[in-house]
Amino acid sequence: MLISINWLKEFIIGFETISLEEIKSKLIFNGIEIKNIYQLCNATNLIVGKIIKCVNVPGTHLNVCQINLGDEIGVKQIICGAANVRDNLKVIVALPGAKIINKTIQSSVIRNLESYGMCCGLSEICSVKIDDEDKIYELDDKYQIGEKNIIKLLGFDDTILDVKLLANRADLLSVYNLAIEFSSLFNCQLKPLVINEYQGDKNVDFKILNKSTKCSFFCVRVFKKIIVNESPDNLKKYLISMGVKPINNVVDICNYVMLLTGQPLHVYDYDKLPKKELIVEENYEADFVALNQKKYQIKKEDLVVTSGDNIMCLAGIIGGLNSACDQKTTNIVIEAGIFDNTKIRHSTIRLNLNNESSNRFIHGVGKQQKKAIELATFLIKKYCNFDFVSKIITTNEEKQVVKKIILNVNEINNILGTKFELKTIISILEKNFTISNIDDFNINVLVPEHRADIDNINDLAEEIIRFSDFSQINNEFPLIKLKPGFLNIKQQKELEIKKYLRNYLYEISTYVLVDKKNVNYFNYLNSDEPYKLVNPMSDDHLYVRKNLSSSLLNVVSYNIARQNKNFGVFEISNINSKNYAKKNFLAIALTGDQRIQGDLIKYPYSFFSLKGFFNGIIDILNIDINKFTFKEVDTDNIELHPNKSAFIYFDDKIIGYLGELHPNIYHCFNIKNSNVLIMEIDLSFLFEIKNNEFKFLPFSNFPSVKRDLSLIVDNNLKIEKIINLVKNSGGFLVKDVSVFDLYKNENFSDKKSIAISIILLKNNATLKDEEIKSVMEKIKSALTKENIIIRD
């Protein structure tokens, strides 16, 4: 919101003595964000000139103007391309050397014609976002030719605050309410806003009707025989300061009253209304041409004001061109109402019609409609005159409800942690509230109508600390019951896993919202329909992801494209889908080599790297690894390499998958010339598994014996099966079986050679040779039975 300092000065006595720095720091402290502070007009070397003669340059929009710039300078030639340049017009001239917005003016030659400076439009000398349609600013004839102080005379010597108000202070969208607030903040006296009431004529041929529950109050007043003209400068200046474009005196008065009181008004040309009535209603579906000459499609849910079954106004937002006031208008109707803020907000957003009026209704207007109309009446009398003014016609009576809050001094101090005395509180509050005493500790606080933000004692506490300062507040920890703070078991486990994985992998954080392509990959753990946004910003962020793998692969792809080819990443994140709320998944992606010693010694990441991480996680969670089974994926899997991947099962439930990407899927993630491995597990499920009780297991102190065996087995025989065979046949003396060599058999293409070592150990004695021999025989015979060849 833009605030004119000059306008505030009209209501705050002594406001000119307050420095901008002080204003700034007070406003910041009060939560009003200052986006910018600037002078409305910084232009120099301006002078009033009168166009004596204006001749068009044939074939161009340019005019050669002879301009009288006063006795000192005389008559000079200036070339001007403005649409409204004409004889006898008084204009603002920027002389050579003048500094205006964004440029310095020089004497120049345009199309071989000399030009002594420039005739100025409003937006060329003032920092305003008002479209002046390539027109120069037309001065009232009262200004003297050669006047150099024209900026001050026009009232453009203003300072503008561009601020963002707090959302609960809609009342400050009013210059007078701002003046009330500022006078309290800066301890200045406030001038009252005197409003004369006109009785008006009761005999008026005009009806209003409110058919909508979304309009809580509606009133109009009819004026006849008024003169529509340009507004005087002292009206226009504040509109310009606040960024509102002057139109004509009637419209400008309505805007002026809106800026001053916060109540938007709308004016209709009485004679253009099809019937002498205005009806507030909904359920219209029609095209509507607004004052801005654009066409809008009105829908049933929009609140409109109609007359004779025609839409005259999109209530609270913008009027129709069909009933607009222009120079020929003589009779008018002015309307003020309270329209539902949600309704106005929805229409405003849908039609992209954010303006000063809709903004005020969206934030909520107070009950001040009659007051606003009276103020407008006073100004219309002053600037447009009228022969006839009606009474204010209302749909229902305005009820002023005054809120009363009982304030107890201890209660305030208990909220704030302060030691205020009641008299201090009273002295702070009485600036904005009516106070009546109850006793030594309690007062009645009457809340003025416009302070809709004040409801209870906490609101008053905020008001008190706002006008005091935070150093009044004690600064100590609360005296409350001691209570231990700690992470619960799940949180501890998750943190442990993160810390473990951080030793090997980068921990990343990716977007939850993904596109259609990514949401469809890797749905092995969660076959739910994904959540889809009703109101997405873009197709890139349309679905709530059901797994993390796709997100990780995109990060891998991004980094590979940037020459980072050897690394691993992981993420632990919430997963949400329709039947799957608040689940935690963990995913790991690996690419390239695991570097052992820089680039000197490295080893390609493989399925077994992922298997190792899974084992590590299971160790941390202290679950028996034998409770999990790895099952090969189907041969027709299209995302995972059918022969280098596995699903992890716990009982019958799939709780994870791991493996290399299918060669055909790499291009879907734009990954070229790299091997990538992915693992994802349902961490929440692992957290739920009952873990082993942790107890020390004594081990044997007798020496163990190691025996190696060289075997030739079928390619398809799993190592796991051989190891189990050895363990089962060897019995309790077999403590460990490990594979230490594995290679393809050169003689038989369907066989592989493996070497295993077997550790034998007895808990209570040293093993005897015959015991060893007997165990090894049992093992060998068991292996041979399974067609495994044992080499000597």
């Binding site: 939560g31 209870n456 951080r502 030793n503």
Partner: protein, 340 residues
Amino acid sequence: MILENLEKLKEDFVKNLLLVKNQSDLNHFYNNFLSRKSQINQVIGELKKFTVDERKKIYEIRSFMQQKFNGKVAEIKNEELKKKIAEDKIDISLPANNFSILGVNPLYLIEEEIINIFLGLGFSVCESNDIDSDHYNFELMNIPKNHVARDMQDTFYLDHELLLCTHTSHMQAHVMEESKGQPIRIISPGKCFRRDEDDLTHSHQFMQIEGLLIDKNINLGHLKKMLEFFIKKIFGDNRKIRIRNSYFPFTEPSIEVDVSCDKCGSNGCTNCKNDGYIEILGAGIVNPKVLIMNGYDPKKYSGFAFGVGIERIAILKYGIDDIRRFYVNDIRFLSEFKKI
């Protein structure tokens, strides 16, 4: 005569010992001079032929030889070791084995740091969920359907009721519901979502940590102390703190807390938009309306709540130039963040 020979032997011994250069010389030399069949040992084998004085002399020579030989053995061994050490020389400037610490997305570092601070103050952790109902996210947080604050937090909806949480404040309602009128001390980290276009300073997804304390006689001073303690822990003791009035529907009074800009020492610069301070969190006394809606009696209990933006803290603490970096996960970016 033999004794004379022995003198000669001794001379020979000394002369030959000088020629011993390595282990094989040494073996050869030992065979010649000190083995069982060597001259001196043969003499000792016939010791009874000699007088006491002569015996003494023989032993002297033998002991001399043994001593010298031992010296040589040590010398050769030392030489050999020196040679081996020289051969074993490594280039210590070669790369280390990869035991160094990898990088972590700084969001997690900040999240864990904040959690640790509040664990120490007796808070527990209750993770926020990404998805919740309009009822918890808005209604129970005193943001009814027609509230302007719904504009401030433009929301992603999944259907007419479910939405992506716009703040972690919805956890206040959940925790109050679960705590059934008993005192509360929790923090709630989690992801939040708002319909913002992603740019340098905006992200449609971001992380927050919510804090909520409800107990008897809690006031704004307690909140102020707690936040000052927290901010100084994060940013260091030398940073100044500024508290401003603000507005949130679920707290009253509401405050905004700023930390002094470290680039300009709170004199004002482009980093702090000439303000000298940078906004880091919002907080306030729990609005009595919220207490009542969530089953707490405001006459008996009061509390405070705060919400901290993790990205914002990380940006300020580490001087990160673009909020999108947190979600791009460039390895070069991650590598810079190893430890708090």
